[in-house]
C-alpha cells in the first residue's frame, strides 16, 4: 500500500515542479521590447542527409545573426527555432507539428531531403503555413503546391542539365547510370531514366550501390556497368560513394567521361577522390564558381561574395551550394515579410512570397508565381569541371 503512496507522492511532486517551471517559463517570455518573429526550421543535421543539413543550418543561423544585428525586420528580432529530423521522415513530421503547436512560427523552412520535406509538406498544407524547402526531389511539387516553395534547382533540372551536357557536349549516346540506393540517388535515377529519351540518350544499365560499400564492392558495380558498353558513366549520389567509384574507375584505367550529380558539389568530394577527381563534370549552382563566370561588380557577384566572406569569417569554411540553399530560404522569407509587413497572415505572407520577382540569391535569380513555386530556371545551373583539384566552368 505504501508503495502506491510513494508513487502518488512522486507524481504530485512532479506536477508541482512542472507547474513551477511553467511559471518561470511564462516569466521569461514577458521581457524584450518587441515580439520576435518566429521562423521554424527543420533540417537533416544527422543521418543520410547530414552533408546537406549541416551547411544549411550554418547559413541560416548566420543570416539571422546578421539580420538581427542590423535591426531585424521593423525592429522585430527574427528568431529561428531549429530542429533536427535525423533524415527521418517520421521525425520531420513530428518536428513540424511540434513547431506548429508549440511555437506558432510565421513560416517554416525545411527540410534537406525529399522524404522529410514531403512529410512536412502535408502538415504545412493542413495548417496553412508557408514552407520553403531546400530539397531537390522532383516529386515534392506533385499535388497541392499552395504552401510549398523551393530554393534549390530541382533534381529534374540537374538531371536535364547533366543529360544535355552528355548529349550536346560529349556527343555520346549510351549512358551507364550508377545511383545510391538512398532517397537522393533513387530520385535521380527516376529523373534520368525518365528524361534520357528526350535527349536521344539510352540508359544501358542502372546499378544501385550502397555508399558504405568498399572500393571493391564499387568495382563490381563498375564491372557490371562496363559489360553494357557504355560511352559515359553517370553517378547519382552523395559522398563518399561517388568518390570511391571515380577513384576505382581511374585505377582500372577506364577512360570514359564521368558525369556526377549536384550531390558532389562540395570540397569533400575532391578531398576523398584525390587525383581521380580531375576531369569529373557535374551540374551545380553558378555560385560554386562565381568568381570565374560572373562579372565583379554585378549584383549577383557582390551578393555571393558578401555571403562567402561572411560564411568564411564565421565558420572558417568555404561556402557550398547547400549553405547557399539555406541562405536563399531564409532570404526569401524575410524579404517577403518585409513586404507583407510584420503581423501578416499566412495567406498574405504566401502571396508575398509568390510575388517575389528578380530576387538575387545564391542559386540564381528567384521569380515565383502562383503556378511556379520552384523559382529558378535550368539556366541557373551550370556544368562544373574539376581541373587540378579546383572547380572550373566546363566547356558547353
Amino acid at each position: 500500500m505504501s508503495g502506491k503512496k510513494i508513487v502518488v507522492a512522486v507524481l504530485l511532486a512532479g506536477v508541482l515542479l512542472a507547474s513551477m517551471l511553467a511559471q518561470m517559463g511564462c516569466g521569461q517570455k514577458e521581457s524584450g521590447s518587441k515580439e520576435p518573429i518566429k521562423i521554424g526550421v527543420v533540417l537533416s543535421e544527422s543521418g543520410a542527409n547530414e552533408p546537406l543539413g549541416k551547411p544549411e543550418r550554418n547559413a541560416i543561423k548566420l543570416f539571422v545573426k546578421r539580420l538581427n544585428e542590423a535591426g531585424g525586420i521593423d525592429g522585430h528580432e527574427v528568431e529561428v527555432i531549429i530542429k533536427d529530423d535525423q533524415s527521418d521522415a517520421n521525425k520531420a513530421k513530428q518536428a513540424m507539428v511540434e513547431l506548429l503547436e508549440q511555437d506558432n512560427p510565421v513560416a517554416v523552412i525545411g527540410s534537406s531531403g525529399t522524404g522529410t520535406t514531403i512529410a512536412m509538406k502535408q502538415e504545412a498544407e493542413k495548417a496553412g503555413i508557408p514552407q520553403v524547402c531546400m530539397a531537390a526531389g522532383a516529386n515534392i511539387m506533385d499535388g497541392d503546391i499552395t504552401w510549398i516553395f523551393r530554393t534549390p534547382p530541382t533534381a529534374t533540372e540537374a538531371g536535364r542539365k547533366a543529360l544535355s551536357y552528355i548529349a550536346e557536349v560529349l556527343k555520346v549516346k549510351r549512358v551507364a547510370l550508377l545511383y545510391d540506393t538512398n532517397p537522393f540517388g533513387s530520385d535521380g535515377k527516376a529523373v534520368v531514366e525518365r528524361e534520357a529519351p528526350e535527349y536521344g540518350l539510352e540508359v544501358v544499365v542502372s546499378e544501385g550501390y550502397q555508399t558504405e560499400e568498399s572500393e571493391e564492392g564499387m568495382d563490381t558495380h563498375l564491372t557490371n556497368a562496363m559489360t553494357a558498353n557504355p560511352e559515359v558513366v553517370l553517378v547519382w549520389g552523395t559522398n563518399p560513394g561517388p568518390a570511391k567509384i571515380v577513384k576505382r574507375m581511374r585505377d582500372k584505367g577506364i577512360k570514359l567521361p564521368y558525369v556526377g550529380s549536384h550531390g558532389i558539389a562540395n570540397q569533400a568530394f575532391i578531398e576523398l577522390a584525390g587525383e581521380a577527381a580531375n576531369g569529373v563534370v557535374f551540374p551545380a549552382g553558378k555560385m560554386l564558381i562565381y568568381q570565374k563566370i560572373m562579372e565583379p561588380g554585378s549584383e549577383e557577384y557582390e551578393f555571393i561574395k558578401d555571403f562567402a566572406d561572411a560564411y568564411f569569417e564565421e565558420y572558417g569554411e568555404n561556402i557550398n551550394t547547400f549553405a547557399g540553399h539555406g541562405w536563399d530560404a531564409i532570404l526569401i522569407i524575410t524579404e517577403a515579410l518585409k513586404r507583407a509587413g510584420v503581423g501578416a497572415t499566412p495567406e498574405e505572407l504566401r502571396d508575398a512570397i509568390e510575388s517575389t520577382k528578380g530576387l538575387v540569391g545564391t542559386a540564381g535569380v528567384f521569380n515565383y508565381s502562383p503556378t511556379d513555386h520552384n523559382g529558378l530556371t535550368p539556366d541557373d545551373l551550370t556544368m562544373v569541371e574539376i581541373v587540378n583539384g579546383k572547380w572550373e566552368p566546363a566547356k558547353e
Binding site: S46, E50, P51, K54, T181, V205, S206, E207, G208, Y209, Q210, E212, S214, E215, E216, G217, D219, T220, H221, T223, N224, T227, T238, N239, P240, A243, K244, K247, D251, K252, G253, A268, E271, L272, G274
Partner: protein, 297 residues
C-alpha cells in the same frame, strides 16, 4: 559470355571484401568463445581502427609504420576498457542482457565517433597506392596487403589458440567456462584478452578496408562479419575464413549475375548477407564447417 569474362574481377573483389569479413568474423568468434557473448560493438572497433589511423597518419602526419600500430593499440585499449567496464560486471548475466549491453556500447561508440569525426567520410592513407593488372581483373596494391595481413592474422590466431598457453586456456573457456576455472584458468583475464584481440583484429579490418572510413561503417561491417562467422560455424577460426570468403564471393557474384545475365537492377545486394544468414541458420545452424554445436529444439 560476358558474365564469365567478368568472373575473375568479381572473384578478386569478393576475395578482397571476404578478407575484411574474415577479420571481423574472427573478432566475433574470439569474444564468443571466451565469454559466450556476441559483441554487437565489433563493427565499431573497425570504425575506431580506420578513423584513428586517419587521425594519426593524415591529421598528425605520423609515418604509416608508426601510425598503424598506434591505431591498433588504441583500438585494443578501447576494447579492454569495454571489457572491464561493461562485460566484466555482466559476467553472470544472461545472454539477452549481454546482447543489449553490447548494443548499448555500439550506439555509444557510433555516437562518439560522430562527435569526433563528424564528416561523412575520411580518406585513410593506403599502404601502397596504385594497382596491378591481372588477366581479366584489376586489383589495387592495397589488396595484396589486405590478403597478406589476413593470412598473417589467421595464422597468428591459429597458432595462438593451438600452441600457446593463453590460447589453449581461452579454448578451454569456450568448451566450459566453469570447468576451465576449476583447473585454475583465470576466466576473467581470458575475457579481457579476448576483447583486446578482437578489438585489434576489428581495428585492423577497419584500417585496411581503406581508403575510406566513416563513423557509420560499424553496422555495415558488423552484420557482414557476423554473417561470415555464422556461415562458417560460430566460434571456429577456419569457419570464419570459409564464411568470409563465401559471403564475399556471393555478394559480388549474385549481383553480377543478376545485372549481366538477367538484366535486373542490383539494389537487392544489401540483402544478400541477410538472406544467406537466415538460410544458413535455418538449414544448417552449426555452419558449413560446424559439427553440431547448436542444440536442437
Amino acid at each position: 559470355m560476358d558474365f564469365l569474362g567478368n568472373c575473375p574481377q568479381y572473384i578478386a573483389n569478393g576475395l578482397a571484401n571476404g578478407c575484411i569479413y574474415i577479420l571481423v568474423a574472427m573478432g566475433f568468434n574470439i569474444v564468443f568463445n571466451s565469454t559466450g557473448i556476441i559483441n554487437f560493438a565489433q563493427g565499431e572497433f573497425c570504425m575506431f581502427g580506420g578513423l584513428l589511423a586517419y587521425t594519426l597518419a593524415a591529421s598528425l602526419g605520423l609515418p604509416l609504420p608508426l601510425a598503424i600500430p598506434l591505431a591498433l593499440a588504441s583500438t585494443a585499449i578501447i576494447g579492454a576498457a569495454m571489457e572491464r567496464l561493461l562485460v566484466y560486471p555482466l559476467r553472470r548475466a544472461g545472454a539477452l542482457v549481454a546482447i543489449i549491453a553490447t548494443i548499448g556500447a555500439s550506439i555509444f561508440f557510433k555516437s562518439l565517433g560522430r562527435v569526433l569525426w563528424p564528416k561523412e567520410a575520411y580518406k585513410v592513407p593506403e599502404f601502397t597506392a596504385g594497382n596491378i593488372s591481372l588477366p581479366g581483373a584489376t586489383v589495387s596494391r592495397q589488396f595484396l596487403w589486405v590478403f597478406g595481413l589476413t593470412i598473417l592474422s589467421v595464422t597468428a590466431v591459429y597458432l595462438f589458440f593451438n600452441h600457446t598457453k593463453a590460447g589453449k586456456a581461452m579454448r578451454a573457456c569456450s568448451v566450459n567456462r566453469f570447468a576451465a576455472s576449476l583447473v585454475g584458468i583465470n576466466v576473467m583475464r581470458m575475457s579481457l584478452y579476448s576483447f583486446v584481440l578482437a578489438a585489434a583484429l576489428g581495428g585492423l579490418a577497419g584500417l585496411i578496408n581503406a581508403p575510406y572510413a566513416s563513423y557509420s561503417m560499424g553496422l555495415f561491417l558488423g552484420v557482414k562479419g557476423f554473417t561470415s562467422a555464422v556461415v562458417g560455424g560460430l566460434g571456429n577460426t577456419f569457419g570464419a575464413v570459409t564464411g568470409g570468403i563465401v559471403l564475399g564471393l556471393l555478394e559480388e557474384l549474385i549481383p553480377g549475375f543478376l545485372t549481366v545475365v538477367l538484366g535486373v537492377s542490383t539494389g537487392y545486394k544489401d540483402a544478400v548477407a541477410a538472406i544467406l544468414l537466415i538460410a544458413v541458420l535455418l538449414l544448417r545452424p552449426q555452419g558449413i564447417l560446424g559439427r553440431g554445436v547448436v542444440e536442437k529444439v
